[in-house]
Structure formats: structure tokens, C-alpha cells
Symmetry: C3
Subunit: 217 residues, 3 copies
């Protein structure tokens, strides 16, 4: 136990930093849409805690975000910050994006690891990592009637997927903490690189042989 | 037990009146949108039962709305009324709005009290009161692609919040029934007053010192 | 046990064929919307597995789709097919629609039967049949910001309702397998007939006596 204090503390710090960052980002969306304080709170809670709550519901365990008061408190602090200060375009905003990317990896790892601890199959564990990482943002986008950004050509969900796979495989190999660390690192590096180099995913195709023919319309 | 028959009966009446009122209101939305009978049923069930089901899922207990047949029956009755009679603009419609306001308080109190009975922290109990009270309406608005009215500048969610706080504090002080009663009263009075006096919440601000400077764009 | 191998096998085949068909149909929607591979996977999983997961959450049991890896695998195969081949307008597409109709009945029956096995009231069992059958498609439509097709005048949800009622009544009468079979048959026949003959549901009405009077506006 004592030997895990180091990585556990780092992980908890990344986890809560992610809740704070997503709480502020949810609040910034509320500000852009001209919402009132209630709207700030709702979007901050959904952004910061939605993915983890969805994961815990799917795993049939009591939601951590309701039982550990730190989560609600930190998400509400994020809403308050976004309500009081206009952060758009500031250096702080860029810091939030980095914290969000690191949290994407942390949450992908938590979801996958928690699922494996319940003896779920590998594919389910990876899915739960993905749900934990992008679920909150997806519900938030739905609530304000935007097409979820997981569909928007950003690599957001792909980065979460890679992190979840890495965390799941390392956890299966008996190294859950290395899995957490790798997932966080991978997510940070990939998210920054995708943004810098403008990476996109390939579009759908049609593998059938192309035989010239006429079609209506 | 015998001494609680009075308040419990009153509470159950308000609770089911709220399910009926929300069932009818969901049905009226289906009528406005030109939906078929299935649409009436779906919107009535979501409006009348959605918040309570969401609460029970978050608390990891079997949904009351599925186990006690009165809830489904009353919500379906609401759908049938809205399908058969055009209530818009009638006195009955105004009665529905009042029943909806009282139910907002009743549901905020149930959510908060049920959460405290599970030893959840105060903040989580208040959140569950809020979810119970406004969750059904929020999902209903999402399903028909409207921006949820909790964001729309009405005090709907704020009233639920005040009721949940009152119910939670009184329940913690050992007076859960006084909490229920206060929440219902508060919600009724505040909802009517907010409508009458046009109360709104303050908009977001920017606390940073205003230094004149140029910005791009 | 040995006597149930026949119907059970048929039911499992219809169930997984439905997951595959809905996975492909979800993928075709992703193709129409120009989504990337992640979008194909998300829409295929929601379409193919969403209803069953929702049912299991409401019944407070571990989601089958997470515990039996066949479900995730088949849904992902559907996404891959839709990503690699443009099926619109082909004979295969018509086959998918039939598989989807049969699965509608199979899922309505599973939901109702699982609920009755938990001693839920008949009305709740029918509702869970309905949720299992149309829940996935409804969430999928929400995610891509379309009005759910259960509201759109197709008989999709009505067919699921009839199937759920038949399955629930036959299960209550001690013949769950006949219930499954009837639900699948009913759904297939009704879905094809509704499409062929253009059946629609009656619109809302107003039963109050029509007394001539003036109104504002």
C-alpha cells in the first residue's frame, strides 16, 4: 500500500484536475450560450462528472461522484470560476485544454481498469474506458443540442480509445499503475500532436468493385 | 407510524398529482408537435416519471415507478387526457401549472431525503433533489429537441434547488416530514411569485480588472 | 433444458441478427452524416445494444451486452460492414430492414419476459419490452439530433407495443417461448404490412362539446 502512494496521488491529482478543467469548460459553454447560473452548474456537473457516473451505472456500482464530496465540490468550483471570470483566449484557457487532455487519459484508464476488476471481457473494458472519457462531454453536447464533438472529426474519442487499450492491456499484464501512467501520457502527447499536425481519421469507403452503371437521381 | 399517516397521505397525493400534471403537460407538448398516440405516451411517461427513475438509478435502487403500478397508470391517464381533450388556455391548464409547481417541491424533497437515507453527503442529496425535480422535464425537452427549460431563464431549477436545500437541512435536523411540507410550500409560493413578478437570475460576469487593450477581431 | 434448445437457439439467432442489422443501420446513418470511424462505432453500438443496456439498467441487473462478448463483437462487425461497403439501395439493405423488424419483436419479448421474471407488474413489463425494442434507436436518433422515429408516424413503436403485450400475456400464461415466437412473428408481419399498406395512427382529438364562441387571436 505504502509503495503505491506516489502513483495514486498523481492519479488522483490528474483526476480532480480533469474534473475542474471540465467543470470550467462546461461553464464556458454556458457563458457562450448566455445561460444563467443554474445552466453553468448543470453543464459543469455533466462535463466534469457525467462520464464517471455513466461508467458506474453501467458497472452497477454506487457512483463515486455522489459518494466522495470532493468531486461535486471541485466541479462546482469550476462552474463558479467560469461564471465569474471570462477565460476565453487566455493562457488559463490553454492550460484547461491540456488538463482536459490528461484527464481524458486518466478517465479512459479508470474505466477500463474498473471494468477488468469486475472480470468483464477486454472489449467491454475498453468500451467502458471510452465511455468514462468521452461520455460526459457527449451528454453535455446533447443537452445544448450540438452534434457531439466525438463525431466532429477531432481525434478526441480516438485518443481516448488508444489510452483505454493501453491501460487495459497493461492492467491485464499485472501493471495497472503503469497502465494509468501510460494512458495519461499517451492522451497528453496524442491530443497535442493531433491539434498541432491536424490529424484526421479516414472517411468511409465502398469496397465493392466499381462497375459502371446508371442510377436514378 | 400512525402519527405519520397525515403528512404521508398528503405527500403521496401531491406526488401522484404531480405525475398526473406532468403526464398531461407531456401530452400537451405531444399535441403541439402533432405526435401520434405513441408520442403522447412516451412524452407523458418521461415527463411524469423520468426524474424519479433517474434518481433511483443514481441511488442504485429499483425504480419505484416500475414497482408501484400506480405511477405508470397515473402517467398514462395523463397522456389519455391530453390526447382526448385540448386543454390549452383553459382553467384546467392553470391548475396543471400549480400542480406541477407543488410537485417540483415534493420531488426535490423525495430525492434529497432518499439520498440522505443512504448516508450520501449533503451536496449529493441536494443534487439528487434537483435531478428528481427537473430530470424528467429535461429529458423530455431533449427528446423533442428543445433547449431544456431549466436553461431558459425561468426560475424552474432554482425553485427546485431552494426546495431541495430546505428539505435536506430539515431532514438532517431530524424533521423529514417538515422538510417535505416546507419544500412543497416553498416551491408553490416561489413558482407563483417568480411568474407574477418576472424574477430572473443574474447573468455571467467578468471579475478581472478592466484594463483598456486591443483585441484581434 | 434439452427440449428448449430449439426455440432458444432460434431466439438467440434472431437476437444477434438484430444486433448485427441495427449495427449496420447505425453505421449507414453515420455514413449518411459523413462521420469518421469513431462515429460509425458509436452509432452502431447505440443502435444495436442501447435498448438492452437501458432495460438492464432499469432492472438493476448487469448489462448482458457488457458481460457476453458476442454482443459487442457483432455490433462492431455491423459498424465495420457499414464503413467498408455502401449498402444503400441494395437487396442487402432490404434484408436488414426485415432483420430489424424481427429483432423488434425479439427485443420486445425479452424485455417483457425479463421484467416478469422479476415479478414486476404487467404494465411495467410491457413498458420494458417497449424500451428494449425502441430504446436504442431512440437514443441513436437523439445523439444525431433527429426527432426520434418513434414519433414520426411510422408504426415502429406500435408494433413493438403489440409484440410486448403478446409476449407478456403468453409468458404470464406459462408459455414464455410461445411468447417469444409470437412476438417475433407479429413484429415481422405487422412491420411489413404497415409499410405495404401505409398504416398510420389516429391524431389527437378534442372530446369537449363544440360550442361556438370567440377567442382572442
Amino acid at each position: 500500500m505504502s509503495t503505491t502512494v506516489g502513483p495514486t496521488l498523481i492519479f488522483q491529482a490528474v483526476d480532480l484536475a480533469g474534473v475542474l478543467a471540465n467543470g470550467v469548460l462546461g461553464g464556458l459553454l454556458a457563458r457562450r450560450l448566455g445561460f444563467d447560473p443554474v445552466g453553468f452548474v448543470v453543464l459543469a456537473l455533466i462535463s466534469g462528472l457525467g462520464g464517471g457516473v455513466l461508467r458506474d451505472l453501467l458497472l452497477q456500482v454506487p457512483p463515486v461522484a455522489l459518494h466522495n464530496p470532493a468531486y461535486l465540490g471541485v466541479a462546482l468550483a469550476g462552474a463558479a470560476i467560469a461564471f465569474l471570470v471570462d477565460l476565453r483566449g487566455t493562457l488559463t484557457h490553454r492550460g484547461l485544454v491540456v488538463a482536459d487532455a490528461l484527464a481524458l487519459g486518466a478517465w479512459a484508464a479508470t474505466g477500463a481498469t474498473k471494468a477488468l476488476a469486475q472480470d468483464l471481457p477486454l472489449l467491454s473494458a475498453i468500451l467502458l474506458g471510452l465511455v468514462t472519457a468521452v461520455g460526459g462531454g457527449m451528454i453535455r453536447d446533447l443537452v445544448v443540442r450540438e452534434i457531439p464533438k466525438v463525431f466532429s472529426g477531432t481525434l478526441y474519442a480516438s485518443v481516448a480509445l488508444v489510452s483505454a487499450v493501453a491501460a487495459a492491456l497493461l492492467a491485464l499484464a499485472g501493471h495497472p499503475e503503469m497502465g494509468m501512467g501510460s494512458a495519461i501520457l499517451l492522451a497528453g502527447v496524442l491530443a497535442v500532436a493531433a491539434r498541432r499536425f491536424g490529424w484526421v481519421l479516414p472517411a468511409a469507403t465502398d469496397l465493392r468493385p466499381r462497375i459502371p452503371h446508371r442510377r436514378r437521381g
